[in-house]
Amino acid sequence: MIDPSLALATRGLRKSYGSRLALDGLDLSVPSGVVYGFLGPNGAGKTTTMRVLTGLIHADGGAVELLGRPFTRRDRHRLFDVGALVESPAFYPYLSGRDNLRALAASGAPTPGRRIDEVLEIVGLRERASDAVSRYSLGMKQRLGIAGALLNDPALLLLDEPSNGLDPAGIVAIRETFRHLASIGKTVFVSSHLLAEVQQMADVVGIIAAGRLVREGSMEDLLASEGVVRVRVQPGEVATASALLVRLTAPDRVTPSPTEPGWISVQVAPSRTAEVNRSLAEAGIYASGLTSGNDLEELFLALTGTMGSADPDGTFTGIDPSAGPLAPTELAPTGLAPTEVLS
């Protein structure tokens, strides 16, 4: 049953690469006219999802609906109303920015020539449009990629790490552009590692881990209801403490950190922080650290069970080391100031 209020939906999407399962029944519901933040740790299936949504690869099972209509292998014309930036922007390095957009405009949806200058203006590249792309910086290439995605004035934008390589001013400008697009009824689907950026930009968030959706909802509701309390106990007390906290909440709301010995994440409202502490203390377990907050980063880390942290030898654990460079927010400690710190 297709829901016309959704700009994008996936139902039970499955995809394997050989024996490795990339998408394991992914269900997404992206309402029209919002900025949707698509989050997940490295290897969670974000890029695979993007590729399926843009017809670059085909799912093994499940269904995709784009702009209220089914999208299958034979429905490439649905993409005429979609703008996409998948992985890194791709251009002919010897052509100018403008000529690259001209070449892009010749494929897919018919695009009027004047639109090229419009999108160059939007991304702030008009002055350098005649330069060869080989002379562009990473950020300029990214801007040109976004310009390419905007070329056909799409109703739905699919963007993979659009802030990649942009300077702070560029990030702010792009964020405002996306917010503006959403305000005029376009849907912007953004996959990103920059959690703070997504928190500022997105209306709705979907978090995936291991190819499945683990949480989806409006940013406001998620942050209001999905607070996280992190508590540190002696490593030998983690099992006992976890059992106590499960009784206080629910089994799927308590996650011992796989990479930080002694730390346990508990998904409860920050107002229950004292209650968490008291229940441990009554059992004779005294927390040596306690933080609470309800920022997206805390939520993300708790839901996906990942925590990027540096080992003494300087290597990062908890994150797929083959997955490329990490965004600063992935590596940072908890984002918000703790409401209560015991030690």
Binding site: R51, T54, L56, R76, R78, Y94, L95, S107, G108
Partner: protein, 270 residues
């Protein structure tokens, strides 16, 4: 049509295009310069082939120029086809077009159609440069230019050009298909060169088989004298130029069918 025009616009300023035809034209000019500069030795030296001056003596120079372009051009064409097809994958530009809803096979075929047109233009340009260089060489060497207007030679030129263009396009299609299958410029270029030289050596042992291979068929289609393969196989069974032309067309279409079929089904990652 807009895809085809766009593909042409992309190919025209490309270094691979300029290099391919610039190199061919430059080598033709250099050969003519060498012939003129050493004409005394050529004419008077014992054991020297007297027909070297045929390179700048019309109307025979027309055939010599075509022979040179088609011979080396076959190798250059396979490299050119592979370079263009491979870059669509390595640069990710095919990915971008597909994500805009473009038909994969239409995109690939439009790109190849543009390659075929560029080859035709480049072929004519190189031949023109060759003719001018030969004419200048003939003037410097004191050889008359009256043969340039030879009616029979001029009347035969269009057919030679057409056959040569089809033959060169076939070898470009081979490189295009291999690079598409491998999603790599280098693989396409490597396999193309390997086939080019491999055919020659295989021709020594398996002439009945090799005569149906792309470079030998290309040689046969243009009359067998152009040396499309590096060492023309004279020992193989004779094939009519028309039969060879049909088989060249079969190779051409089969290569394009393989490339577009693979492009339709391929998973585009990276």
């Amino acid at each position: 049509m807009r895809l085809f025009v766009s593909a042409l616009r992309k190919l025209a300023p490309r270094m691979a295009t300029l290099l391919t035809f610039g190199l061919l034209a430059g080598m033709l000019v250099l050969i003519d310069v060498a012939v003129v500069a050493t004409r005394g030795a050529v004419e008077g030296g014992p054991g020297r082939p007297g027909n070297v001056l045929a390179l700048i003596t019309f109307p025979g120079a027309y055939d010599q120029i075509l022979s040179f372009i088609l011979g080396l051009g076959g190798l250059f064409a396979v490299i050119y086809g592979a370079a263009i097809a491979g870059s669509e994958w390595t640069w990710g530009t095919l990915k971008t077009a597909v994500a805009r809803g473009e038909s994969r096979s239409r995109y690939l075929l439009a790109t190849f159609a543009a390659i075929a047109v560029v080859l035709a233009v480049g072929f004519l340009f190189t031949a023109l440069v060759g003719v001018i260089a030969a004419a200048l060489g003939a003037s410097v060497a004191g050889i008359g230019l009256s043969g340039m207007g030879d009616r029979a030679a001029l009347e035969a030129l269009p057919e030679h050009f057409l056959r040569g263009w089809v033959a060169i396009t076939e070898t470009a299609a081979l490189g295009f298909a291999v690079a598409t299958l491998a999603r790599s410029q280098l693989a396409g270029i490597g396999v193309g060169i390997a086939v080019y030289f491999g055919e020659t050596f295989a021709g020594l042992f398996l002439p009945d088989v090799v005569k149906y291979m792309p470079f030998h068929l290309a040689t046969a289609a243009v009359g067998g004298s152009t040396g499309f393969a590096p060492v023309p196989s004279s020992s193989g069974p004779v094939m009519s130029t028309d039969t060879a032309l049909v088989l060249v067309a079969v190779w051409l279409l089969a290569s394009l069918a393989v490339a577009s079929g693979f492009g339709e089904r391929a998973e585009i990652t990276g």
